[in-house]
């Protein structure tokens, strides 16, 4: 079953076409890597899929809702995390979870259990009462992720979630992503770390507003006769540069 469908999705700003007729589908529980150079159109595409920006033309469905007509339903059914933390520094760990659980409309009776569940999953049982500002950076990032999916959404959008994070935490973060995918949450993720592209079930590479490649990392490496995803990326993005930047 597909939880994201994009058909010729397009967004223009004046005479500039940021996203140019992109089409793809993402299945339930899939980890989908959305790669591209700076300025390739990734953020614009994500904003449309999250119901934050209306497409100029084309269609899109996220969690069964139309991105043009039902942006509010989409927002209630997705999670979103960017590099910048959305946590409240002056609230305790459990208070942050409590706050987001309320915002996402989790019934009052269930919130207590959900807080315990998240603390256990993260191994944060002893940090329940700690102020978020006192947590190490890597822990904040893991808590941010758990808060973004506190309502067990069908899909979570992660925009460069591991930028600048230390190597061990970066990997622990990916283990949380696997865990969420195993529970059936679809993960839509962007990254500039090409080793992380290998952890995705499928990867799309956007160049100048268009999706130029979309397949499993294994097939992409075969298609481009490349040893790793870094080489695949370089081959595609270099081509774009030669066509004029």
């Amino acid at each position: 079953m597909n939880v994201i469908t994009a058909e010729n999705l397009t967004k223009s700003f004046g005479s500039f076409t940021a996203v140019d007729h992109i089409s793809f589908e993402v299945a339930q529980g899939e980890i989908f890597g959305f790669l591209g150079a700076n300025g390739a159109g990734k953020t614009t595409a994500i904003r449309m899929l999250c119901g934050l920006s209306k497409p100029t033309s084309g269609k899109g469905y996220v969690a069964g809702f139309d991105i043009r007509k039902q942006p509010e339903q989409i927002k209630a059914n997705i999670g979103y995390l960017s590099q910048k933390f959305a946590l409240y520094e002056d609230l305790k760990v459990w208070e942050n979870i409590r706050l987001y659980a309320g915002i996402y409309g989790i019934p009052e009776k269930k919130i207590g259990d959900r807080i315990d569940e998240i603390l256990t999953r993260l191994g944060f049982e002893n940090e329940k009462e700690v102020l978020v500002k006192a947590l190490p950076l890597g822990w904040k990032q893991k808590l941010s992720f758990s808060v973004a999916i506190v309502h067990e959404p069908r899909i979570v959008f992660l925009d460069e979630p591991t930028s600048g994070v230390d190597p061990a935490t970066r990997r622990q973060f990916w283990e949380l992503i696997y865990d969420a995918a195993d529970r059936g949450i679809t993960v839509f993720v962007t990254t500039h770390y090409m080793d992380e592209a290998e952890y995705c079930n499928r990867v799309s590479i956007m160049v100048d507003g268009k999706i130029q490649a979309l397949d499993t990392p294994k097939n992409l490496k075969k298609q481009f006769e490349a040893g790793n995803m870094d080489e695949v990326f370089h081959q595609l993005a270099r081509k774009a540069r030669l066509n004029g930047d």
């Binding site: 930028s163 230390d166 195993d182 500039h192 870094d230």
Partner: protein, 306 residues
């Protein structure tokens, strides 16, 4: 005297010890990399060495001048590209460059040779406002502005963070060219794969240098046995490897997992059998040479054991 000498620099912000007893020297014409995650203290160190922040204790000299007493001399001699975008967003590419040249009492023409290679790439956009440039082009312009007075030491604070792999490579190509001009370059980055491009690197975590060495020596001195392991079920493989009593650490590294062991009592054949019994197929195990990222993780793991 070396262009950068640092002795026991420490700095606190309230209770937080941002830098603890940092000492190192950078040689003339060297690319010295400071490698570590966000919050490790990289920016604090750069701000102290560029005379924008005072250290609590310790001393340092840049280009032979004391960072406290001779701060005015230092400011004339160095180039500094801070992590966050430092240009005037409402001025054009050309105007930004001439502002920086004027402030340093020179002209764009005088040192044009130094920036020519980089500037030519953004010259077609010289009448565009800096705020309207793409990320990669902004970085190129910022580098030109930091170089326009031909500094003797260049400080680049995370010039590649959030920049795509192609633009990152372009930027590093430029730094390697600048080295030939005998400019000493201090550069910080959270990307471990960029460490190999530096002459020497310091690994920094929680305000302390874990190690200073050449990338080649650092990886050669890796003191554990290191294997890359693959199978048909990578997620399960991670857990199964961690459950093996002789495996010390196990982390995902792109298409393989890396495992470390203290001694050689486990053989590849034994591990292969163990994994087969647990249902894995297409198993591949091979000894590998450590990367800088392996070293960093090994060193930080040791720190946390202390």
């Amino acid at each position: 005297m070396n262009p950068v000498t640092v002795k026991n620099i420490s700095r606190k912000f309230g209770k937080l010890e941002a830098l603890k007893e940092i000492s190192f020297e950078a040689n003339q014409g060297e690319i010295f990399g400071i490698i570590g995650p966000d919050g490790a203290g990289k920016t604090t160190l750069f701000r102290i060495l560029t005379t924008l922040l005072l250290a609590d204790t310790g001393e340092a000299a840049v280009d032979g001048f004391d960072i406290v007493r001779d701060y005015k001399q230092i400011r004339k001699r160095i180039g500094y590209m801070p992590g966050r975008f430092s240009l005037y967003q409402d001025l054009t590419v050309e105007e930004n460059l001439s502002v920086f040249a004027t402030v340093f009492e020179t002209t764009v023409e005088k040192n044009y040779d130094l920036i020519k290679d980089i500037y030519q790439q953004i010259e077609p956009f010289k009448n565009r406002r800096a705020g309207a440039l793409s990320g990669g082009m902004k970085q190129k312009l910022a580098l030109c502005c930091a170089l326009i007075h031909k500094p003797s030491v260049l400080f680049l604070d995370e010039p590649t963070t959030g920049v795509d792999p192609i633009s990152r490579k372009d930027l590093w190509d430029m730094l390697i060219r600048l080295k030939k001009e005998n400019i000493t370059i201090l550069v910080s980055t959270p990307y471990m794969d960029e460490a190999g491009l530096c002459d020497r690197i310091a690994l920094i975590q929680e305000g302390r240098f874990l190690k200073i060495d050449t990338p080649a020596e650092l990886t050669r001195k890796f003191d554990k046995i290191l294997w890359a392991v693959q199978s048909n079920a990578m997620s399960k493989l991670l857990a199964d490897l961690r459950n093996h009593e002789k495996v010390q650490t196990c982390f995902a590294f792109g298409e393989t997992h890396h495992i470390t062991m203290d001694d050689s009592s486990l053989t590849i054949i034994e591990l292969q059998k163990y994994l087969s019994r647990l249902g894995h197929t297409d198993i591949e195990i091979r000894p590998i040479v450590a990367s800088v990222e392996d070293c960093f993780m090994n060193l930080t793991a040791k720190e946390s054991e202390k």
